[in-house]
C-alpha cells in the first residue's frame, strides 16, 4: 500500500516538473523572440545567429521533454506553443539566405540602362542619374 502511494507521489511530482518545464520552454521562446525583434528594429541581428538557433531549438526540446514527463493539460498547451514557435522560427532562419544571379553588378561597373515609372507616374530613364552622385536602394515595397 505504501509502495503504491510512493509511486503515485512520484508520478505527481513528475507531472508538476513536466508542467514547469513546459512553461520554462514557452518563457525561453518568448524572451528570445522579444530580444530578436529588439535587434531587428535596430537592423542589427548578428550575422552569426547560432545562439538564436540554439535557443529557438531548446524551446521545442524542453516542450517535448515536458510531454514525456506527462505535464498537466495547461502545461501541454504551453509545450505545444513552444514546439511550434521554436520550429517555425528556426525555419525562418534556415531559409533567410539570399542568392543573387551569377553576375550581379559590382563595384567599378557602370549602371545598366533602364527605365521605370516613378511614384508620380512619370517615366524615369537611367540617363537621369548622370551628373550627380546617387544612392540607389532595392527593396520590396510591401510585405
Amino acid at each position: 500500500m505504501d509502495e503504491q502511494k510512493a509511486v503515485m507521489k512520484n508520478a505527481a511530482s513528475s507531472k508538476t516538473l513536466g508542467t514547469a518545464l513546459a512553461f520554462a520552454a514557452l518563457a525561453l521562446l518568448i524572451a528570445t523572440v522579444i530580444f530578436w525583434f529588439n535587434l531587428a528594429n535596430k537592423v542589427s541581428i548578428p550575422a552569426n545567429r547560432t545562439l538564436f538557433v540554439f535557443a529557438f531549438l531548446l524551446a521545442p526540446v524542453l516542450g517535448v521533454a515536458s510531454f514525456v514527463m506527462k505535464a498537466r493539460w495547461f502545461g501541454s498547451i504551453a509545450a505545444v506553443a513552444a514546439i511550434i514557435g521554436g520550429v517555425f522560427l528556426t525555419a525562418t532562419i534556415a531559409i533567410s539566405r539570399q542568392q543573387v544571379a551569377d553576375n550581379p553588378i559590382t563595384v567599378g561597373d557602370t549602371v545598366p540602362y533602364f527605365t521605370a515609372v516613378d511614384d508620380q507616374g512619370d517615366q524615369f530613364v537611367s540617363d537621369m542619374l548622370y551628373g550627380t552622385p546617387t544612392v540607389i536602394k532595392f527593396f520590396r515595397a510591401h510585405w
Partner: protein, 88 residues
C-alpha cells in the same frame, strides 16, 4: 499606395516601381533563393535582394552593399559612412 504614403513618410527620394523586376534583373539583383514574395500571374515571381548602391556622377558603382539574408540589412549609418568615405 506609394503616392498616398509619401506625405506620411516625408520622402524626398524618387521612388521607382519595378513590378516585373526588369530593373532588378538588369542589375542582376533578383533573389534566386527561397522567398516569400507574392505568387500569381500579375505579381512579381520573386524579389530583389535588398541592396544599396552608391554611384558617382558618371554612373559608376563606387560602393555597394547586398544583404546576405533578409533578416539583416545595412542601416542608414553604414550608407552614410560609405558616402563620407567615397565622396569627401
Amino acid at each position: 499606395m506609394i503616392r498616398a504614403k509619401r506625405g506620411v513618410h516625408r520622402l524626398k527620394a524618387t521612388m521607382l516601381s519595378d513590378r516585373d523586376l526588369a530593373v532588378t534583373d538588369a542589375f542582376g539583383l533578383r533573389n534566386q533563393a527561397i522567398h516569400s514574395g507574392p505568387i500569381g500571374e500579375d505579381a512579381a515571381e520573386a524579389l530583389p535582394v535588398p541592396a544599396t548602391l552608391l554611384l558617382d556622377k558618371k554612373g559608376t558603382v563606387l560602393w555597394m552593399d547586398v544583404a546576405e539574408n533578409y533578416q539583416r540589412r545595412q542601416g542608414p549609418e553604414v550608407v552614410l559612412a560609405a558616402l563620407r568615405a567615397h565622396l569627401d
